[in-house]
């Protein structure tokens, strides 16, 4: 199935949670869904007979620099050899998204990384803490408005 057909199928099952379908070439088409329903939608995408997205290729995060953050899910199905991109857009003031680590275990570390570097909070994640930076680090370095802290544990950080 192509992305448009998948969108129509999803829209019939989740009329409120599936927000939009974008196909701005040359960018790959993507579906925008609601942050609160992403876990149910992902479970559906994984288990539905003619979708079977059994592989989360990547989960990454974006700062749009307009008070919005996004998580991007790249899905792939080894069974049907089709793929899908999903975006969840959340405001910077309340960047909370339901975890999908119960659907694909891969998401566990990817979500921790998105939290570590972009500050997106994944609700109901089983082991939610920073993954790369030290636990006492201040701020989220990949945000556009990130300012480096002057000192870390008494060590000067800027050059």
């Amino acid at each position: 199935m192509n992305s448009n057909e998948i969108y129509n199928l999803l829209k019939s099952f989740f009329p409120d949670a599936v927000i939009d379908y974008k196909d701005d070439k040359p960018v790959e088409p993507y579906i925008i869904v609601s942050a609160k329903e992403i876990d149910k939608i992902c479970l559906f995408l994984r288990d539905e007979e003619n979708l079977q997205f059994d592989y989360l290729s990547c989960l990454s995060s974006v700062d749009y620099d307009n008070d919005n953050l996004a998580a991007v899910y790249n899905l792939y199905s080894f069974v049907h050899n089709h793929k899908l991109n999903i975006k969840v857009i959340v405001p910077k003031s309340d960047p909370v998204i339901k975890t999908v680590s119960s659907v694909w275990n891969t998401a566990n570390w990817h979500e921790r990384e998105a939290y570590d570097l972009m500050g997106i909070i994944f609700d109901e994640h089983p082991d939610f803490r920073r993954i790369l930076l030290p636990d006492d680090w201040e701020g989220y370095p990949l945000r556009k408005d990130y300012k480096v802290q002057e000192f870390y544990n008494g060590m000067k950080v800027p050059y």
Partner: protein, 170 residues
């Protein structure tokens, strides 16, 4: 006699051998510089070059440098690679566990001054000398094994001229 000449070129040898006369400083320095056991510690791509240096082709061992698995066995540590702030905390801890006298070689641009991360590397310590004192800086990105060996020889020179009793002479 060859080894003793390395200890002191003007060494006094007596007719029937068996004993020599030298100064305490020269004897201690000779012992120290001839068996600088280094702590097994690799950080980034520089560590690959350091491993190449300790392998048979370049052979660290001929300078008495043997990797040790514990900081408490070590006389020397080669900071070989990018020091992140998270790692810097651990390095300080390891350095504090090493017994005196201890020496540090900073290997490569990253540990000298932050290297390619100097401006945008929010997570990188801009020079290991911000937390621990460095004896020899080896430039390069990464330095070739020859460069690291040169650094080791420079450190040996430094140890050869230090004084245990006259601190400010060294």
């Amino acid at each position: 006699m060859r080894y003793l000449n390395r200890l002191d070129s003007k060494i006094k040898q007596y007719e029937h051998g068996n004993f020599v006369v030298t100064s305490v400083d020269k004897f201690l320095n000779w012992a120290r510089l001839s068996s600088m056991w280094q702590m097994t510690f690799g950080l980034a791509c520089c560590a690959i070059e350091m491993m190449a240096t300790s392998a048979s082709h370049y052979d660290f061992d001929r300078f008495g440098i043997i990797p040790r698995p514990s900081p408490r066995h070590a006389d020397m540590i080669i900071i070989s690679g990018t020091v992140t702030l998270k790692m810097a905390t651990r390095i300080k801890k390891l350095y504090d566990q090493m017994p005196e006298p201890k020496y540090i070689i900073s290997m490569g641009s990253c540990s000298n001054c932050g290297g390619p991360y100097w401006e945008h590397g929010y997570h990188v310590l801009k020079g290991i000398d911000r937390i621990i004192p460095v004896d020899v800086y080896v430039p390069g990105c990464p330095p070739r094994p020859e460069a690291l060996l040169e650094g080791v020889l420079k450190l040996q020179d430094k140890i050869r001229n230090q004084s245990t009793y006259k601190k400010n002479k060294a």
